[in-house]
């Protein structure tokens, strides 16, 4: 059996009095498009930050393909092939679209040559051109990323994910703020990428999640509330409560503990 693509053991992160991720044990098997959903403040983005090294856990461990990556710096984790997008679209606003892709391609290299001309690397240039075609931004290649429309920035983010040769891709609300048409394009792209890349996606839009995810984990209050396929989740009583919400917060907590 192959090791699960990602595993967390008793992962915990606190912010002051708030426990954002609480003793989380998560095993994500390989070759499945995995979605993590949950109400605001459930700890989804914190979980991504812990996996990608932007935050260090207070306790617990993270394993990528059986290898422990707990506490490694973000760039080391990225070099292992774990790439991610950020919830608030985040590209290099003052670089051009092509430069964004280029630096993402070269970024993982341990040695960045200080004197060679960046544009002299043919392999990189061709790869950038191919990626531009894939995401349909060839016409915008020389535009500054900061001047792009929101949807185009999201596409650029996906392009940056593609060009970085990810082993595991963490997508944080990739369709957030997109128009329905843009969402459709993005979903199609994600589905296509999932053929070759392990993907974990945080998503708010239930329609998107149920449409693409093979397996779904529901988080609430930093812990796992439920997990299963789309059908199981949509019928889960606790999940519906968590989403529809109850006036009393205490019930939330109780359920999270019981779960």
């Amino acid at each position: 059996m192959t090791a699960p693509v990602l595993e967390t053991r008793d992962l915990t992160r606190r912010f002051g009095g708030l426990t954002a991720v609480d003793n989380l044990n998560l095993t994500l098997p390989s070759r499945q498009l995995h979605a993590i959903i949950g109400p605001n403040g459930a700890g989804k983005t914190t979980l991504f930050n812990l996996i990608s090294g932007l935050l260090r856990p207070d306790a617990g461990q993270v394993f990528f393909r059986g290898r422990e990556i707990t506490g490694l710096p973000a760039h080391e984790i990225s070099r292992l092939g774990i790439k991610r997008t950020l919830q608030v679209k985040s590209v290099f606003a003052q670089l051009t679209v092509a430069e964004n892709l280029w630096i993402t391609y070269e970024g993982s290299k341990r040695f960045l040559h200080p004197l060679r001309d960046a544009e002299s690397d043919r392999a990189a240039r061709e790869r950038v051109e191919r990626t531009l075609e894939q995401i349909g931004l060839t016409a915008m290649a020389r535009r500054t990323a900061g001047a792009l429309s929101y949807g185009d920035v999201a596409l650029l983010e996906i392009g940056m994910a593609l060009i970085s040769n990810p082993q595991l891709l963490l997508l944080d609300e990739p369709t957030c703020g997109m128009s329905p048409a843009e969402t459709e394009r993005a979903v199609a792209k994600i589905r296509e990428m999932a053929q070759t890349i392990e993907i974990i996606i945080i998503e708010h839009d239930m329609a998107v999640v149920f449409g693409i995810a093979d397996a779904i984990t529901v988080m609430a209050q930093g812990a796992i509330l439920a997990s299963g396929n789309a059908k199981q989740i949509s019928q889960d009583e606790r999940v519906r409560e968590a989403y529809l919400g109850r006036p009393e917060d205490e019930d939330y907590v109780e359920e999270a503990i019981n779960a």
């Binding site: 932007l54 950020l86 608030v88 985040s90």
Partner: protein, 286 residues
């Protein structure tokens, strides 16, 4: 030996209170306007010069405590309107602009006041016994005045409408503006108050230092230290850090010369700066 130590500690303490006044001005200007004010030491220097001129013209020292902050406030408001407002939101440019301002203030004083440092005699002389030593009475008075000004400033922030507005803008600019707080006027007011606090500190300090067009140059780093060690955005912390720093330097001066004391406090500050986790990636999570 004990007496010297006590004397230097007291001197440090009082100097720290004056620094606290100046550093508070620096901190509010930074907090509300995001301006790194390189000219802030010169605001203090202008205060000492205003005190000197007031004494020269009117023969009355006490008037300086009103004239210095008042003119300081007007100058500050004017500077904000003319120089800072057009470059709002660009912290790097504000460094260049206030550096230019610093040159202008120093040079103007050099023209109007002259290049030679002068001294002001304290309006009240004599000593009083304190913890077993005879201590200069004006310094005690300066301490009282500084504490009064600090208290007044905090009361102003906490208990007046304008003060509340200032805190609101500092806390969350966009929401404050959305709620109808007149941000532009608050900015002008803030810069005016920042200058006034430094100028008042200058008037208080004038008799215990020299009046010199370069008098602000040494003050500036110390104020920045206080603001950083106290924590950006933490006004009481800034005041406390200013007092502690000056006190610390005063103590070291009892065993070494002032340069060594200054080096020691700089080393201390580096340690604080490096061990503070807030320094890492602060405000960069997007």
């Amino acid at each position: 030996m004990m007496d010297t130590l006590l004397l230097l500690a007291l001197n440090g303490l009082i100097w720290g209170l004056i620094i606290a006044l100046i550093a508070l001005g620096l901190s509010v200007i930074f907090g509300l306007l995001d301006v790194i004010n390189i000219a802030h030491g010169d605001f203090f220097m202008v205060g000492t010069v205003l005190a000197w001129f007031t004494l020269e013209v009117t023969g009355n020292f006490w008037l300086g405590f009103i004239v210095a902050p008042l003119i300081g406030f007007i100058l500050g408001a004017l500077i904000q309107r003319v120089v800072i407002q057009p470059i709002r939101g660009a912290a790097a440019l504000s460094i260049v602009a206030t550096f230019g301002l610093s040159l202008i203030l120093q040079e103007s004083v050099r023209i109007g006041f002259g290049p030679v440092p002068r001294r002001i005699l304290p309006p009240i002389t004599g000593t009083i016994p304190l913890f077993g030593i005879e201590y200069d009475i004006y310094r005690i008075f300066a301490a009282v005045l500084s504490v009064a000004a600090l208290v007044a400033f905090f009361l102003f922030l906490q208990h007046t409408t304008v003060g509340t507005w200032m805190r609101a803008v500092r806390h969350d600019r966009d929401t404050a503006i959305a709620m109808g707080i007149p941000a532009k006027r608050i900015y002008i007011l803030t810069f005016g108050i920042g200058f006034a606090l430094a100028a008042f500190g200058g008037a208080v300090a004038a008799p215990i230092t020299t009046v010199d067009f370069r008098g602000g140059v040494d003050i500036l780093p110390v104020c920045f230290m206080a603001v950083i060690i106290g924590g950006l955005g933490n006004l009481p912390g800034t005041a406390a850090a200013a007092v502690l720093l000056a006190f610390f330097e005063g103590m070291i001066q009892s065993v070494a010369d002032p340069t060594i004391a200054r080096i020691a406090s700089l080393v201390l500050m580096s340690a604080v700066l490096l061990l503070r986790p807030q320094g890492l990636f602060k405000g960069h999570i997007r």
